[in-house]
């Protein structure tokens, strides 16, 4: 057996292990596309961002007992009475440049002790926010709410949100077409490191 040949082979194994480890370390398993964040910094108001969903194009689901026609087509929403006063919707969410940046759920429900309206916005490259809205509209037709919790980029943030319906926005011709606009104002809270 040629000892030099054996040494070359063993050196090759070590080099292969090193190259493989380096390849696994430096090659990302996931490439996450991200659109730039379009943020306005408002005086004493935190970071303001405007998101919207174009209706009907960005609507993924209307989950409600009496919804006709079904959205999406073929949806078999449970007819159980416990869901009768609940409306669950899913949307694609766009930024101010009309580019899709995430998905969102909106759950509305009525009960004996009032109602709830909530949003969860999931922006894959950034994080998610959980927004609690006041059921009643303000005088200028906004529905106001607050940030209850956030993940990743939004973790530990506080802030407010305003929702409004803009009929006919987006250029669609249908009478039911328009845009749901969400304006968020968030600010990061300094963590106490004492």
């Amino acid at each position: 057996m040629d000892k030099t040949l054996l040494k070359t082979f063993i050196i090759g194994i070590f080099l292969g292990v090193a190259a493989g480890a380096a390849g696994l370390y430096f090659t990302p398993l996931v490439e996450q596309a991200r659109e730039r964040s379009i943020v306005d910094v408002t005086p004493n108001g935190g970071n303001k961002e405007v998101f919207h969903a174009n209706i009907p194009d960005d609507r993924i689901l209307i989950g409600a007992a009496d919804q006709l026609p079904a959205v999406p087509l073929g949806l078999d929403w449970p007819s159980d009475e416990m869901f009768a006063s609940t409306r669950t919707e899913l949307f694609k969410i766009r930024n101010a440049e009309d580019l899709v940046v995430g998905v969102a759920s909106r759950i509305a429900a009525t009960s004996e002790d009032g109602g709830i309206i909530e949003w969860t916005l999931h922006l894959p490259a950034r994080g998610s926010v959980y927004l609690l809205m006041q059921p009643a509209l303000s005088e200028d037709s906004f529905r106001l709410g607050s940030l209850r919790a956030g993940s990743r980029e939004f973790s530990g943030w506080v802030g407010s949100v305003a929702e409004r319906w803009l009929a006919g926005a987006g250029g669609a011709e249908s009478a039911l077409a328009g845009r749901i606009e969400l304006t968020t104002r968030f600010v990061a809270v300094a963590k106490d490191e004492s």
């Binding site: 040629d2 082979f9 398993l29 949806l75 694609k92 998905v103 709830i116 909530e118 894959p124």
Partner: protein, 240 residues
């Protein structure tokens, strides 16, 4: 000279194969069957659902993935920013198997995934509404490495392109201490509550063509003492 180059290249290939095998079958990584909530003194609420896309009320992704959207005509998430995202809506069942509410789950591949660390991570959030009780938000990072190792890879290796067996593991990997998910209560009896949760998968069948076929997910949410249902003794003392 040629034989030395051949030996070096052969060694290189064997080395790469070795490191890939060691990383994939990393003996330091084990299926996590023990829930961190198992040692909790507080009551734990269990909500379960079928992971199979055909059992979801709505399941959508980029439309080109292994698992097909359901219903077929649902809007697909094909834009670059959401291409690695799935959205599903399920009826959640309580521990007795009765419908308890609606759960919306958004999941996205995480760029923190790392083969060397044995992390195939997914960032996910749950938006849950339980009629007559209230709403909950759950944020977590899930690690599917052992799922790929124990179920997906064997299914691809199988001549029938499927896997059958019994497999149970916690998939929650953070962001909370002890690898728990973070819970924020929104309304009703959960209003203002901050807690922790763990999601586990119980698999029985997986198909290369369809993805999960017989698989149940269970979300276990720790309830603060004030929210736990009173014991029979407490009910008597409260005159109920």
């Amino acid at each position: 000279m040629i034989k030395y180059i051949g030996a070096l290249v052969g060694g290189l290939l064997l080395g790469v194969l070795l490191i890939v095998t060691v990383v994939f079958y990393n003996p330091m990584l084990q299926t996590n069957n023990l829930s961190p909530l198992a040692v909790s003194d507080n009551e734990v609420m269990h909500l379960s659902y079928s992971v199979a896309a055909q059992d979801a009320l709505v399941y959508t992704n980029d439309g080109e993935s292994q698992v097909s959207p359901n219903p077929p005509k649902v809007l697909q998430l094909w834009e670059p920013t959401v291409r690695g995202t799935t959205a599903s809506v399920n009826v959640l069942a309580d521990s007795r198997g009765r419908a308890a509410g609606i759960g919306v789950k958004f999941s996205s591949h995480s760029k923190d995934s790392s083969a060397l660390d044995g992390k195939a991570l997914v960032n996910s959030v749950w938006h849950i509404y339980l009629p007559q009780r209230g709403s909950i938000f759950v944020e977590q990072s899930e690690n599917y490495w052992s799922y790929i190792q124990d179920i997906v890879f064997p299914a691809y290796r199988s001549s029938g392109d499927n896997w059958r067996g019994t497999w149970l593991s916690n998939i929650t990997d953070g962001p909370g201490a002890l690898g728990t998910a973070l819970v924020a209560g929104g309304s009703g009896e959960f209003a203002g509550v901050d807690s922790v949760a763990v999601e586990a998968l119980s698999a029985k069948a997986y198909s290369v063509d369809l993805g999960p076929v017989a698989m149940t997910g269970e979300l276990s949410i720790e309830l603060p003492p004030a929210l736990a249902a009173p014991t029979p003794d407490e009910q008597v003392s409260q005159g109920q």
